[in-house]
Amino acid sequence: MIQFEYLSPSSVKQALGLLSPNWGDTEVLAGGTDLLGLMKDFVLTPKRVVNIKHVSGLEAIRSEGDGGARIGALVTLDRIVEAAHIRQNYPALAQTVADAASTQIRNMATIGGNLCQRPRCWYFRNGMGLLPKTPDGKSMVVEGDNRYHAIFGNEGPAYFVSPSTIVPLLIAYGARLRIAGADGERELALEKFFRIPGSDAEREHDLKPNELVTEILLPSAKGVRAANYEVRQKASFDWPLATAAVALRMNGSAVESARIVMGAVAPVPWVSQEAAQAIANKTINEQTASAAGAAAVSKARSLSHNNYKVKLAAVAVKRALLVAVGQTVPDLSTAQRGGGA
């Protein structure tokens, strides 16, 4: 880490005032589980760090009258797991958050930081850039080892994958985001928050350097069957190779509408219309779920080393659908993955 000045504002307004309008000058520190690593590796070298943990008003989980929820940006992951309202109304979310990272990280990491965390791409983390280039201008990712890289949205120059294992499910639930900036607050659908950068000057989300994520709004999930399925090699504390989140509204035993979002497959959480269409008005069983998995990856385009991820994404979609309707899926160990309707 390079030297920096450190401030702990107590209000959103104050925090905003301390942030520079230019990326690189200042960084927001929440749980620090991502930011400090990036700073230690000199990927980020802010001259000022604004600790927002003492900012008031961002640490609550509130239940809405209709069963919806608002989660403050500073709520730590462990509190989401433990919150009765979340466990009752969004059981798949409680389970997914419980499966993220490790006990220690869940105790430290905030949900706001989770949405804003930077990609784990090993070129990026090793200081070669988010859109790394070889001396002759080719993509280092395309030329190099891209086993963990994107199979969607990889037309270039971005090939990294969106890291959060929680975000796809939040998007499937239809979450919205509140962001505070110099000009007041704005609200947008969570999926709109993520974007594929076209140049080194851009980041992978729609956040200005002097804005703060303040709150996540979850619409009521009454009547929604949701699940998240992660393909992870290790039993626990391991970045998944592909994930899928589904949220279904049912009409009897048939799917009325579906939101299917894949993670770790594209520079942004990847919403699959193809999979949703494949399952529309159908009863979910092994065949229809498989077909939805196949549809989900029909437009995937693998790089030199990540063809296997196409299969894994299809499996994740299929199994997430089956879990959502309460069917059992092959399971190597109970500790391995999240689920729950």
């Binding site: 030297q3 000199f42 280092m140 190099g144 296997y308 190597l332």
Partner: protein
């Protein structure tokens, strides 16, 4: 009684500690965080050192500018490690060393140094098959070549052969003959001296083919069953949790105190003396605990040397130089890769007839040692042809990794034989039994171990032919493997003192890597003196104490146990001499039991230990124990072990899960049972880790390691291990003496797990680690997809 017999261990039922579970003596210090490691060494005025490292895998240094760093406040010393003009062979190699008042400052200073490089072409990928038509290098060997070979653990016999055939370019006196294995030193002394030849740099160094019998004829013989396959495992790292490093300080102008994190305390002064310019006797190395080594921590390395040099420049202040995790994984540990195309043949009844392999692998700039394939059976397979090409590349320097070359040889061999058993339609256990004579002197041990492993795993009840037929995507299978290792004790000495007040002190310059060395020493001494371990003080980890060899190659337990036993017996007998008259008996008639010195069989004629020692007068008893090396009957060499794995594979997601592993292990006389078992459990877990997860991933364009962290350099976690069962062959082979155990149990897991996966899914996954990508590719190929 023959002089040697008095040192022999008593039978199992007369021992209280040796061969039993007695608890790790240093356990509480470790679990409460009080145990101190090199990394924990804090002293007043401590400076922090760090290196400027090359970002390029292959380059020449053009220019170094340290002026800005030198101007920074807090920077205390700067040393150039490699001058302009030097060639760099791997990314992360050390270029400049700096010491400063604290770590943030030194890291700032490192970033302030400017180095210009001329980039040179690099190669970091090694899995591609090298051309088959490169003639072997027959040019005479330089000292560098020998060093490369030694670093890569090229077997002694092979080195001798090459020295004899190729000759040498240097005078034998120029070689460090005293540090070489005797056979190699002998070969060097008698080698032909030739002028050096200018060798063009080459990525591939093939060795001459080795043959026995007539392999081609054997493969063409009628009625043989032939199996072919590709097998391999990549370069992995040691990933010691305590990174490599050292703290050095000059206590006066010509005395150096070092705390190198090392597996070889006694060896540090000798390895540092010349470079730091003082006699070895003026160097004192101290280390209480070490946080992992696994073969990678024998020398002082650049960090040891440069912490001493920086300390000198900074007026003697202690300089702590510990590697960061990224540095550790990039430069401080690399197990050579090994890949091979193998053909094996057997008669229809399962009798193995021929082996033919073309293999390659890398240990970085030095090439790579050839693993001893076909493993276990090499000396006895009637026909073989073995070809090996060392890949010389820029992946980083190899270091010995727990059982050097053996896990590689074991995987390639046991997987090939398992595939052959499948082709023969045989249960692998039956196949191995059928060919057991090929394993030579340890055949009987394996035959003793098979039924134990069979029972603990339920092999015979549960084994099925390849391809689990259970419906659904989860497939389950069993696999097995066998291994051996030398493990004769190294040279080791022990001073044991009994004071008139009854206190007992042992001094040994050894180290405890967590293998339980301290516990074992105290077990031996306590048993011999009839005391509890708590009644004995063990002073260790310091070059002021009698020397002990390096803890590598499973040589420690044999070495220290024999030295301790000998010192303890001699001290005890000296005490008997003094006490016998008091008890009205003769020394031969005395024994020590539970803190008493007594006349054998006469419980009433006894003195407490304290009373007995009081009879010594004012002079303490001092005994020096030294083992007898190769002719010491208290220790031996050559263990046998059998392992079995039970896995489940999710064939849709390509994920392998360990359900259970069984290790049945012999190591002669077990000294400390609990820590021996822990060695085996640990080895199984380390084996699971390299079988499923570990790989040093290199970027072809930048030549850098992409996963120098613990996030994508994956280690098995607590949820990845399944049920582990360890069975030590206790009390069965006590007569063979004590044999080392550190390496053997880590050799087989890769092979056993790979075989279990093949048994589950019906197809071989050729390469470790068994990642979803590889498992799915193998399944795809089986189905005829082009994965």
């Amino acid at each position: 009684m023959p002089a040697e017999d008095k040192y022999a261990y008593p039978p199992a039922d007369e021992r209280t500690y040796v061969g039993r579970r007695m608890g790790r003596v240093d356990g509480t210090a470790k679990s409460t965080g009080h145990a101190k490691y090199t990394y924990d060494y804090n002293a007043k005025g401590l400076l922090y050192g760090a290196f400027v490292r090359s970002p390029y895998a292959h380059a020449r240094i053009k220019n170094i500018n340290t002026s800005e760093a030198e101007k920074m406040s807090g920077v205390k010393a700067v040393e150039i490690v490699q001058k302009p003009g030097s060639e760099i062979y791997w990314a992360g190699d050390e270029v400049v060393a700096i010491a400063a008042v604290d770590e943030p400052t030194v890291r700032d200073a490192v970033r302030a140094v400017k180095v210009d490089y001329e980039q040179l072409p690099h190669l970091v990928i090694d899995s591609e098959e090298p051309p088959h038509n490169i003639p072997p290098d027959t040019s005479p060997l330089g000292l560098d070549d020998l060093e490369d070979m030694a670093r890569n653990q090229v077997p002694t016999a092979q080195m001798v052969k090459e020295i004899n055939e190729r000759g040498i370019t240097f005078k034998p006196e120029e070689a460090p003959l005293d540090r070489m294995p005797a056979d190699i030193a002998k070969a060097v002394k008698s080698a032909k001296q030739k002028p050096a030849e200018k060798k063009p740099p080459a990525w591939y160094k093939p060795a001459a083919a080795e043959t026995q019998g007539d392999a081609d004829a054997a493969f063409q013989a009628p009625e043989v069953v032939i199996s072919e396959g590709l097998y391999g495992l990549p370069v992995i790292t040691h990933c010691c949790l305590e990174t490599h490093g050292a703290v050095c300080e000059w206590t006066d102008s010509d005395h150096l105190l070092t705390h190198v994190s090392t597996q070889y305390i006694s060896g540090i002064p000798g390895q540092m003396a010349e470079v730091v310019g003082i006699p070895a006797a003026n160097i004192r190395q101290v280390q209480e605990n070490i946080g992992g080594g696994f073969g990678s921590k024998f020398g002082p390395d650049r960090w040891g040397i440069y912490s001493a040099k920086l300390s000198k420049k900074a007026g003697g202040a202690p300089v702590k130089m510990m590697l960061s995790r990224a540095e550790e994984l990039e430069v401080a540990g690399c197990r050579p890769s090994a890949y091979a195309r193998v053909r094996v043949a057997a008669k229809k009844d399962g009798k193995l007839t021929a082996w033919d392999s073309f293999g390659w692998g890398t240990g970085g700039p030095g090439g790579g040692g050839s693993p001893p394939i076909p493993y276990l059976i090499r000396d006895r397979v009637p026909n073989y042809r073995i070809q090996w090409t060392a890949v010389v590349n820029n992946i980083g320097p190899a270091r010995a990794w727990r059982a050097p070359n053996h896990p590689q040889a074991c995987l390639i061999t046991m997987a090939a034989l398992d595939d052959l058993a499948h082709k023969l339609g045989m249960n692998p256990l039956e196949f191995f039994k059928k060919n057991i004579e090929l394993t030579g002197p340890r055949a009987n041990i394996y035959m003793d171990e098979f039924p134990v492993a069979d029972e603990l795993m339920g092999w015979s009840k549960r084994w099925h032919p390849r391809g689990d037929k259970t419906p659904g995507p989860i497939k389950r299978g069993l696999g097995m493997s066998m291994h051996t290792w030398g493990g004769r004790g190294h040279q080791s000495e022990c001073d044991l003192t009994i004071q008139p007040d009854g206190s007992v002190t042992i001094k040994m310059g050894t180290q405890d890597l967590g293998t339980g060395t301290r516990t074992a020493i105290l077990a031996v001494a306590a048993d011999t003196l009839g005391l509890t371990p708590q009644q004995i003080t063990l002073l260790y980890g310091d070059t002021r104490y009698p020397m002990s060899g390096g803890s590598g190659g499973s040589t420690t337990i044999g070495g220290v146990s024999s030295a301790t036993r000998r010192a303890s017996v001699d001290a005890r007998d000296a005490l008997f001499l003094k006490v016998a008259p008091v008890l009205g008996s003769t020394p031969e008639q005395l024994e020590v039991v539970k803190g008493q010195v007594r006349v054998k069989g006469q419980a009433s004629k006894a003195l407490s230990w304290k009373e007995a020692c009081a009879k010594m007068g004012a002079v303490p008893i001092n005994a020096h124990g030294k083992n007898l090396g190769g002719r010491d009957p208290l220790m031996n060499s050559g263990v046998g072990g059998v392992q079995m794995a039970d896995v489940s594979v999710d064939t849709e997601a390509g994920i392998v899960k360990i359900n259970k592993m069984v290790a049945v292990q012999d190591c002669g006389l077990v000294v400390s049972l609990e820590t021996a078992e822990s060695q085996c459990y640990g080895a199984l877990i380390m084996g699971i880790s390299y079988a499923l997860f570990e790989e040093k991933v290199m970027d072809p364009t930048s030549g850098r390691m992409l996963n120098p962290n613990m996030e994508f350099y994956r280690l098995a976690g607590i949820g990845d291990i399944g049920e582990l069962v360890v069975h030590m062959m206790v009390n069965k082979y006590d007569g063979r003496g004590v044999i080392g155990l550190g390496e053997p149990p880590v050799i087989s897991p890769g092979a056993a797990i790979s075989n279990a996966v093949a048994n589950a899914i019906g197809v071989r996954v050729p390469m470790l680690p068994l990642t979803p990508a590889r498992v799915l590719a193998a399944l795809g190929e089986q189905k005829g997809e082009n994965a």
